[in-house]
Amino acid sequence: MPLRALLIPSLALLAVPGAVRAADDLGFQIHGFASQGYIRTQGELYEAGSYGRDTNSGTFEFNEFALNVTATPIDRLRIGVQLIAYDLGKYGDDEVGLDWAFGEYQVPVTDWFQFSLVAGRFKTGHGFYNDYRDLDMTRTEVFLPRAAYTTSFRDFFLAANGGQINATIDAAALGSFDVSGFIGTQNVNDADGPIADLFRGGVQTTSVTLPIFFPNVGGATISNELSEVDNLTVDQMNGGYFTWNTPLQGLRLKVSSLYAQHLRLTGTIESTYTDGPQPGDDSLDGRTATSQVVIDGLHWFDVMFGGEYVVDNFVFAAEGSSQYYKAILNSEATQFESADGSVVFPVAAVTQTFTNRTLGAYGSVGYQFADLSGPLSRLSVYSAYNWIRSSSGGSPSIYTRSASVALRYDITDHFLIKGQFERVQRGDPGNGHDYGNVFSLKTTFDF
């Protein structure tokens, strides 16, 4: 059911005075938001692939809807659930999913040491802004900086299922520290989702591709693609963060990590025999063969670190990101046959190990014209510069650089419109560079 169907009656409920802050002793609240965007690209950018369509002609398949309910049934315990539906081109399709649903209990300790336990599905807290990826009302820019917040990894990084411990330590003259850690797992079993596409090589992300291929055997050239994903699971995902709220008001430093292990994908590779070793023998050219494949033992380690300084109406931020992946692919033996069955070309079982390391960094500055009078006080601007380097195995590194500017206008406290332009350069030293542009517009309403 589209979440819009839930939002409409909820918005109607708002017409009743006081409905939002309903039922009182439980601290019962209902909130939600609706965002609709437009994206258009120029050039060969990953957005075009990850959105699953030619965004060069523009698309409105770019939205999010969410609705949450929270309550405090007893002292120190907060419970809540948020449903979300989103559409990012080929992903999401506005299917309603669970964004978060957890209970958090504040354990009584001391005044300078706050401590809570969380169980359920919760935000991971990875990086400064990952938790707020869907919350357009919390930032000026449309897209978070690509060097640290790859859109395609949204489902993987955003939330986890399990248990989390949070602590805040008041360190007097040193400021305070926020510490969090979790143990859990992740729902990624979506054969059409971005993580499956990552292994298909279908997502030309800025940072990662994991091409799956058979080596050329006996001089033949064989191309491959992961045609079907039957199952995709992650046994365990752990992570945490450490934030230092420094004595300098507005300055905080953070380091966070995510570690996913035992990711297992089973599926089918479809291979095409494109060229044989014997001149004039083209009986196998274009013939296809399938084989079962298991990608196992993936270790995915992601670390982010950075600083944010909020002073007056400025927000300065810089973060670095390091990702490392290792996966082992096992595919069954298969064979190509000519149309009449007279020629057979066997391909032995293959075991390959893939590794990828990606480094990224960005710097950004935002400013809100809050000191201006009248409507101009609702204007804010933002700019960021991204740098990414990705290398897989022995392949040459791929570089991406981009610069973006964004403008936001708050029509009311709960309704805004914004736009962003980003110029992207992507390529490697051997093959030159591609240039592209991303234009995006977004409007958001929240209550």
């Binding site: 802050r21 601290g27 609240q29 909130h31 938001f33 969410a66 949450n68 929270t70 405090t72 002292d75 120190r76 907060r78 809540g80 659930v81 948020q82 978060w100 957890f102 958090e104 504040q106 009584p108 005044d111 706050q114 919760f122 935000k123 938790d131 707020y132 869907d134 919350l135 009302m137 919390t138 805040t168 008041d170 008001q249 507005g250 909020v310 109406n313 809100q368 809050a370 708050d410 406290d413 929240d446």
Partner: protein
């Protein structure tokens, strides 16, 4: 000033000015056991970092939509009104906090606090009435 009548008139004229600049106060429901807050406590409660009072009861933050007292509160918190609201939206939409109650004026604010255990608000100290108490904010 030699003329007592003139003195009285000048003093009378200054009275509204005195009211405008009167010290704002942190106002709690009178059942609260809290007698004083530190500056850090004030930020922790108002910015949603602490959701429970020391006795474990729920903190209910109440704010004005605008006005002098609201502006003074933002200065104390070191936030613009927009930054304050954005911070709360981050908490609300990640499940880590409940949105503060928002009221139109200080009379409403004080009335709400008087009937809501665990409530905390910021208003002109002169608005205090039965059911609420003003508490001091210690420098540390």
């Amino acid at each position: 000033m030699r003329n007592p009548l003139l003195f009285a008139l000048v003093a009378l004229a200054a009275l509204p000015l005195t009211n405008v600049t009167a010290e704002d106060a942190i106002i709690l429901n009178s059942t609260s056991e809290v007698a004083a807050l530190s500056k850090d406590d004030l930020k922790d409660y108002y910015l949603g970092r602490k959701a429970s009072w020391p006795d474990g009861s729920k903190v209910v933050v109440v704010v004005l939509k605008d006005g002098t007292s609201h502006d003074n509160l933002m200065k104390r918190l070191g936030k613009s009104s927009s930054q304050f609201t954005t911070g709360w939206k981050k908490l609300v939409f990640t499940g880590k906090g409940a949105m503060p109650e928002q009221v139109d004026n200080e009379d409403e604010l004080v009335t709400f606090i008087a009937k809501t255990p665990g409530a905390i608000g910021y208003a002109d100290a002169g608005k205090a009435k039965d059911g609420v108490k003003a508490v001091a904010v210690k420098s540390q």
